[in-house]
């Protein structure tokens, strides 16, 4: 019994007795990744792996990436930021939950907080929140691009959002985006996230005369809407934000691949004007380091499908911006200087776009960089009926 107790005490003390984080002559700096590793592992691991890959590629400084699970709870997210600061983090990479409170803690500690997933309005404000940056498409940009894409088609769209925070933030963005074209909206519906059957809501949309469905919600909601519409023989076009490309949608509809066909989603573009080269190089590095992310479904001709690491490139880019700012500031110790440099630095992103900020703009992905992709045979490719998307190259997703 005593030995067991001793072992337990040693286990508890071990992490605290590991000496400093120096490796050779390089000092190690901590980057904290605050994300929902337990609640939505795909999002959490994508952010952390992107940051990890960039950290390992740095030459001047040695970064260590530590994961903090926020469990999609704002309170835990804030507590994590507090812990990360206590652990000596030089930056917080955040999925976005709890940022309304945690940014102040980061500001008081003088360190940057970089949002790499959520696009909610108000999270980023260069004046009020000078230490908060974002490299991820904004909800505002996604919603306006969707309106810009759908309204000219003459569709009467049913706007379906779910009651998750993601859905509710989407509703706010969609309200603004469609405010000038109310005639394009057939009906607005809020559906329960995780509901097993969305047939009643889909039927209401159909009876309202909708000729298109715009679903802003969790992947399960999107799969539910597709399932309800297609099973009733309604082959209506369905549009979504980036949640539509989540592997979960395809996994849930694996037995009906044809139901996914035609699903169109809006997301940050993975390739830029320079072509697919940079992104493919990034993808290669990523897959060499972490392996491929299999979706779990196959193409009609039997190929396994992989998920391109498009969201991982945002945290990857953020580390590169941070490293460049630290480099310019002569090290991470002068926090004010690092933050000042964050406002002036620009680096080439994983997809070839320039990523950087200035004093008036802390958004690393411009709204115009939102593109559209459409599924066919469980893989997606940029659409041809949108000027930006039509110039982009499809990323091969078959293995």
């Amino acid at each position: 019994m005593r030995r067991l107790l001793l072992l337990l005490v040693l286990c508890l003390l071990a992490p605290g007795c590991g000496g400093d984080d120096s490796t050779g002559s390089k000092k190690t700096f901590l980057i904290a990744v605050n994300a929902p590793f337990t609640r939505t592992p795909y999002v959490g691991s994508t952010i952390a792996d992107g940051a990890q890959l960039a950290a390992e590629q740095q030459g001047t400084y040695h970064f260590r990436v530590k994961r903090y699970d926020n469990g999609l709870s704002a309170r835990r997210a804030v507590a994590n930021v507090r812990r990360a600061i206590a652990d000596g983090a030089v930056a917080i990479f955040d999925e976005g939950t709890g940022v309304n409170a945690s940014w102040r803690l980061a500001r008081d500690a003088g360190i940057p907080l970089c949002v790499t997933y959520q696009g909610g309005q108000g999270l980023v404000d260069p004046v009020e929140r000078p230490n908060v940056f974002r490299i991820a498409p904004t909800d505002h940009g996604t919603a306006f691009r969707l309106a810009e894409y759908l309204v000219p088609k003459g569709l009467e769209v049913a706007l379906l959002v779910d009651d998750s925070s993601y859905g509710q933030e989407g509703e706010e963005a969609l309200r603004d985006a469609f405010s000038r074209n109310p005639e394009a909206v057939a009906i607005r519906l809020t559906v329960p996230a995780g509901a097993p059957d969305l047939a009643p809501e889909v039927l209401r949309a159909r009876r309202a005369g909708a000729t298109g469905l715009l679903v802003w919600g969790q992947p399960t909601t999107i799969a539910g809407v597709l399932s309800a519409a297609r099973s009733s023989g309604w082959n209506v076009p369905v549009y979504t934000p980036a949640a539509g490309e989540d592997p979960l949608v395809r996994q849930q509809l694996a037995s009906h691949p044809d139901w996914v066909d035609g699903l169109t989603f809006a997301a940050g573009r993975p390739t830029a004007e320079v072509g697919p080269g940079p992104f493919l190089a990034f993808q290669r590095s990523y897959e060499e380091r972490f392996g491929v992310q299999l979706v779990g479904v196959k193409t009609p001709d039997g190929f396994e499908i992989v998920q391109p690491p498009d969201y991982a490139m945002y945290s990857y880019d953020c580390v590169n911006v941070l490293a460049a700012a630290i480099d310019q500031a002569g090290g991470p110790d002068d926090h004010a200087k690092v933050l000042e440099e964050m406002n002036q630095i620009s680096v080439q992103g994983a997809n070839g776009d320039r990523r950087g900020f200035n004093e008036r703009n802390h958004e690393g992905v411009v709204d115009d960089d939102v593109y559209f992709a459409r599924f066919h045979g469980m893989t997606y490719a940029p659409v041809k009926d949108d000027p930006l998307s039509s110039t982009l190259t499809a990323i091969d997703q078959r293995r």
Binding site: L8, C11, L12, A14, P15, F37, T38, P41, G44, S45, R67, Y68, D69, G71, L72, S73, A74, R75, R76, V78, A79, R82, R83, I85, A86, T97, G98, V99, N100, A101, R104, G120, L123, D163, S164, S165, Y166, Q168, E169
Partner: protein, 608 residues
């Protein structure tokens, strides 16, 4: 009264209080005081800077857990809604501060009142439910609050929560939390062995018996659930102030469950239990996190699993919880014997002059079954009236109709020509009409003395919770008097040497005597005993007969339901025979035995 007299009275009261405090001071009190002092000094001597917010948050959560301990440990209410009350306090506080711009104290007050109001509503809604249904109902409450907070992001702040301006430093929060936690634990210690606390604990062990002794159980349960909810609301509000964010996702069923598990694992019946339970959960979490980190697993992957296994082990080892298990172990190590209490030299009780109790035409039906039909009974002071008859003849129904446990369909009960009408059991106990249960109804987790104190406490007037907490001179004086009466009742029942022993450890005959002692301690004029001699040996029957004779001689009116006709012959002055709810005969035993109707009905079998 002039100022000098007032001053002198105050001085004397303070001197008495100090003397009593010195007399009752124990090692436990010293340890508690030292622990509180050390906890308060910790931030000054330990490098806790970065962890102070976590520490203060833990202390606030412990306040909510101790609050739940009030409901579970004292009241036996398995509330799975504590997280909802924490959430209500938190969200009200956040809205008052962030949206309305209220100052700190008024917003805290409103948050506590809101949580307490939710506690009152919950108590009213679940008051009559059985424990399993209370657990389910409060669990549903947790879900309702969680879903409501999710559904109304305008109130709860949605996924981003409501952000508050800063108030105090984490260290100030920690110190405040320690003081509140100490006060909450102290209040538990003060309340548990006295007045309402004792009534609650009795109701937890056997609600029917407690109500039978006049304990106002529904009101007490409502009160303890309200207090528990108020403490949870306070903890929630202060946590929001500490963390500067109210997170709607954090106040759902998971928090309720965690607090409940902490209370059960630590030990619900001690104030330290919930705190130790929370510490155990927290330690397991940290251990799991560290082990997961060493194994390279993502955060949270191992945490819940190891925590779950750890809790199972803790429950398996602890049984009633870690703290009671530790106490039992320490008790065995010290091999402590129960200290016999000194019985009072004063007379047991003085039966106040009262007229006879008369039951007039009592009738009661249960569906098609006629349990009582026009029963008349006269219970005269200084006599023992035996009620005999076969099983199902209506004896216990008659007793319950007289004590008020059962409403007769027709007929009335009068004490000294005054109708008792719709008076509750408690009100009848206060008028001196007390009954005991057919089965041996004691409170096994209470000591013998505490069992009797439940009865003795029914007549106290200065044991209101606040007075009890403040230990006012009147409350202390009355407590001492109540204790003397209880010890006297124990002595009369022949249990003076067993005062400190847990009632559950007493032999069967002693338990029946203990039940009688508890009824005697209420100060009855009319005592109704349901089969007091059941299962007694010859020697025990002799002792019981002596006791009943002494009670009769003291002026008490006694009604004894009994099957043992030899025993009835020894103690009864009047015997009434019942059959199928009707009175067959009444008179002395000889008269009844000679009654042709009785003999024809069933006594002819040679019972007399």
């Amino acid at each position: 009264m002039n100022a000098t007299a007032t001053f002198e009275q105050t001085r004397t009261a303070l001197a008495d209080a100090a003397r009593e405090a010195r007399a009752s001071w124990s090692t436990r009190a010293t340890v508690f005081l030292l622990a509180v002092a050390l906890a308060l000094l910790a931030p000054a001597v330990l490098p806790l800077g970065d962890r102070m917010t976590d520490l203060a948050g833990f202390v606030y959560l412990a306040v909510a857990a101790v609050g739940l301990g009030y409901a579970v440990g004292l009241g036996g209410i398995p509330s799975l809604g504590q997280g909802a009350f924490v959430g209500i306090g938190a969200v009200v506080e956040a809205n008052a501060r962030a949206s309305e711009g209220w100052p700190f104290l008024p917003s805290i007050f409103v948050a506590v009142v809101a949580a307490a109001a939710a506690g009152v509503l919950t108590g009213l809604a679940t008051g009559r439910l059985r424990r399993a249904f209370v657990a389910v109902s409060t669990w549903i409450l947790s879900w309702i609050v969680a879903l409501a907070l999710t559904s109304f992001p305008g109130i709860s702040g949605g996924a981003q929560g409501l952000v508050l301006p800063g108030s105090f430093s984490p260290t100030a929060h920690y110190e405040l939390g320690i003081v509140l936690l100490a006060l909450a634990m102290l209040a538990f210690v003060v309340i548990a062995p006295r007045g309402s606390g004792l009534g609650l604990r009795a109701g937890r062990d056997d609600p029917a018996a407690a109500i039978g002794l006049g304990v106002p159980l529904p009101g007490l349960r409502l009160g303890v659930l309200t207090a528990s909810a108020a403490l949870a609301g306070l903890a929630g509000a202060l946590t929001v102030e500490l963390e500067q964010i109210a997170d709607p996702s954090g106040y759902g069923p998971v928090l309720s469950f965690e607090l409940f598990v902490a209370v059960i694992v630590g030990g619900a019946r001690t104030p330290l239990g919930p705190v130790v339970g929370l510490l155990a959960i927290s330690a397991l979490r940290h251990l799991a996190e560290e082990v997961g980190g060493l194994r390279g697993l993502p955060p949270g992957r191992l945490e819940e699993m190891l925590t779950g296994y750890g809790l199972l082990v803790a429950l398996a080892i602890g049984g009633a919880g870690i703290v009671p298990a530790a106490q039992a172990w320490l008790g065995r190590r010290r091999n402590r014997a129960f200290r016999p209490q000194t019985p009072s030299a004063r007379p047991l009780f003085a039966v106040e002059a009262a007229g006879p109790l008369a039951a007039l035409g009592l009738s009661k039906r249960f569906g098609n079954l006629v349990a009582l039909e026009g029963l008349d009974l006269d219970l005269v002071p200084g006599t023992v009236h035996a009620l005999v008859g076969p099983n199902g003849s209506g004896k216990t129904t008659a007793l319950r109709a007289i004590t008020g446990e059962l409403r007769p369909d027709s007929g009335s009960v009068e004490l000294a020509a005054e109708p008792l009408g719709e008076l509750s059991v408690r009100d009848r106990v206060l008028r001196g009409v007390v009954g005991t249960q057919q089965t041996t109804a004691i409170f096994p987790d209470l000591s013998a003395l505490e069992n009797v104190l439940v009865g003795a406490g029914v007549r106290t007037t200065h044991d209101r919770t606040l007075r009890m907490l403040l230990q006012t001179p009147k409350a202390r004086a009355e407590e001492a008097e109540t204790r003397r009466r209880a010890l006297g009742a124990l002595a009369v029942a022949g249990l003076a040497g067993e005062a400190g022993r847990p009632a559950g450890e007493l032999p069967a005959h002693a338990r029946r005597r203990l039940m009688l002692a508890a009824a005697l301690a209420t100060g009855p004029r009319v005592l109704l005993l349901d089969e007091p001699a059941a299962g007694a040996s010859a020697a025990e029957l002799n002792g019981l007969a002596e006791l009943l004779t002494r009670l009769r001689n003291s002026g008490l009116a006694l009604l004894v339901i009994e099957h043992n006709l030899r025993f009835v012959g020894r103690v009864a002055d009047v015997v009434t025979v019942l059959e199928a709810g009707r009175r067959l005969a009444s008179g002395t035993l000889a008269e009844v035995a000679a009654d042709a109707t009785v003999r024809a009905a069933y006594l002819g079998r040679g019972a007399f």
